[in-house]
């Protein structure tokens, strides 16, 4: 009887502790209150390649607004690169839109971190206002149907298994249902 009593106490305590610890490290990708049509844009990267959002219809698009002088943007960049290495060619596209900086500045930064995902440049800061983000970094997820469905304000560990699973689940299932 006594043993059952003390085991019950231990289970209650350990469950509480583990829930608290899990909560602290959780990465979140909240849904927007009301999905909206993703504003179209056509932006060039430092190599003059144009990226049009509508070209990626049918894929999940992660649009990350960032700048080199923004500390949380710098923090999350390596995790975006790791995510890119895992999702490239699997129905998820990353467009990391630099806000208001020159091609030279972006080139130096991306060279340091060896970033390989597309980095279109919103040099006049006009596209970010259409979404509309209020701070950097802000990341939007555009569904295969072209709707903004999720938004993350502030940096994330983008290759976290929970976030990756969430992104992959948003893809259009192929003929095999996978």
């Amino acid at each position: 009887m006594k043993n059952i009593f003390y085991i019950l106490i231990m289970i209650v305590s350990l469950t509480g502790m583990s829930l608290a610890m899990a909560g602290e490290k959780k990465q979140t990708l909240p849904a927007v209150a009301k999905p909206f049509k993703a504003p179209e844009f056509a932006l060039k990267d430092e190599n003059d390649i144009t990226y049009r959002l509508s070209d990626f219809r049918g894929k999940v698009v992660l649009i990350n607004f960032w700048a080199t002088w923004c500390p949380p943007c710098r923090i999350e960049m390596p995790s975006i690169e790791r995510l890119w290495q895992k999702v490239k060619g699997k129905g998820v596209v990353i467009l990391a839109i630099n806000v208001g900086e020159s091609a030279d500045t972006v080139f130096k930064f991306t060279g340091q971190l060896q970033l390989s995902f597309p980095i279109p440049m919103d040099t006049k800061g006009e596209v970010i206002k259409k979404y509309p983000a209020a701070g950097l970094p802000t990341t939007y997820i555009v569904s295969p149907a072209g709707m903004v469905t999720h938004r993350a304000v502030g940096s994330r560990e983008w290759d976290d298994p929970v976030l990756m699973k969430q992104l992959m689940a948003m893809r259009i299932p192929n003929r095999n249902g996978k």
């Binding site: 009887m1 059952i4 009593f5 019950l8 106490i9 209650v12 305590s13 469950t15 509480g16 829930l19 608290a20 909560g23 959780k26 990465q27 979140t28 909240p30 700048a67 002088w69 923004c70 500390p71 949380p72 806000v99 208001g100 900086e101 020159s102 040099t123 006049k124 800061g125 209020a134 701070g135 950097l136 938004r151 993350a152 304000v153 502030g154 994330r156």
Partner: protein, 211 residues
């Protein structure tokens, strides 16, 4: 299987502790000050079970260099640098997925008040500065950098969301003031007053002609 009254009391006590620990005290406001580990400068912090706000001093010399490098002229960079700037980190720390604990957070800097020598006034926001820069015909890249460097005037944070940015209190270096902050969370308006904040002193003044 019979439990004695002592056992029942212990179980009730532990379950109550578990539930309150799990839910956290979402309303109690904690305040602390200290030296920020990264910046090595003083900070003032307010936190509850659902949010944390840390304001870290920025030295005028840091801001001077930062804005000169982004296209402002020396006079403009000086004006910004001596406007009492704090690096600001505001987070929604409420936990998604925990019933009764996750909550959206909203704020608007226009509702916050700087209390200086007994008088209250609003903060100088992105929009206030933007009209000045437009009037002075500051270059577009400099205006964009300034706008996005400043803390957003209003935001809505879901659990896990946060921003960094500069807040401007428009006081002389070394001034002391209180800051009244408000935010909406858990369906109610929350208020706190951060006492005795201090604008960073200008520890590297510009040389004068007399020198």
């Amino acid at each position: 299987m019979m439990l004695s009254s002592v056992h029942v009391k212990i179980i009730v006590f532990l379950l109550a502790g578990f539930v309150s620990g799990y839910a956290g005290n979402i309303y109690a406001i904690d305040q602390k000050t200290g030296i920020d580990e990264q910046a090595q400068l003083p900070f003032w912090e307010v936190s509850t079970g659902g949010m944390s706000l840390r304001l870290i001093q920025r030295l005028p010399i840091q801001s001077r260099g930062y804005f000169l490098a982004r296209g402002f002229n020396a006079t403009q960079a000086e004006r910004i640098a001596r406007s009492c700037i704090f690096q600001t980190v505001f987070k929604n720390t409420s936990q998604g997925g925990q019933p009764g604990k996750a909550s959206t957070l909203e704020y608007n800097l226009n509702d916050w008040r700087v209390i200086y020598k007994g008088k209250k006034r609003k903060m100088k926001t992105r929009q206030d500065w933007a009209s000045e820069w437009r009037a002075e015909k500051v270059s577009k890249p400099a205006q964009i950098a300034f706008e996005w460097s400043l803390y957003p005037t209003s935001q809505q944070y879901k659990p896990g969301d946060y921003n960094w940015g500069m807040s401007v209190f428009n006081l002389e270096p070394g001034s002391r003031f209180d800051l009244e902050i408000t935010w909406m969370q858990y369906g109610r308006k929350n208020t706190a007053i951060i006492k005795n904040m201090e604008c960073a002193p200008d520890i590297n003044p510009q040389p004068t002609e007399a020198l």
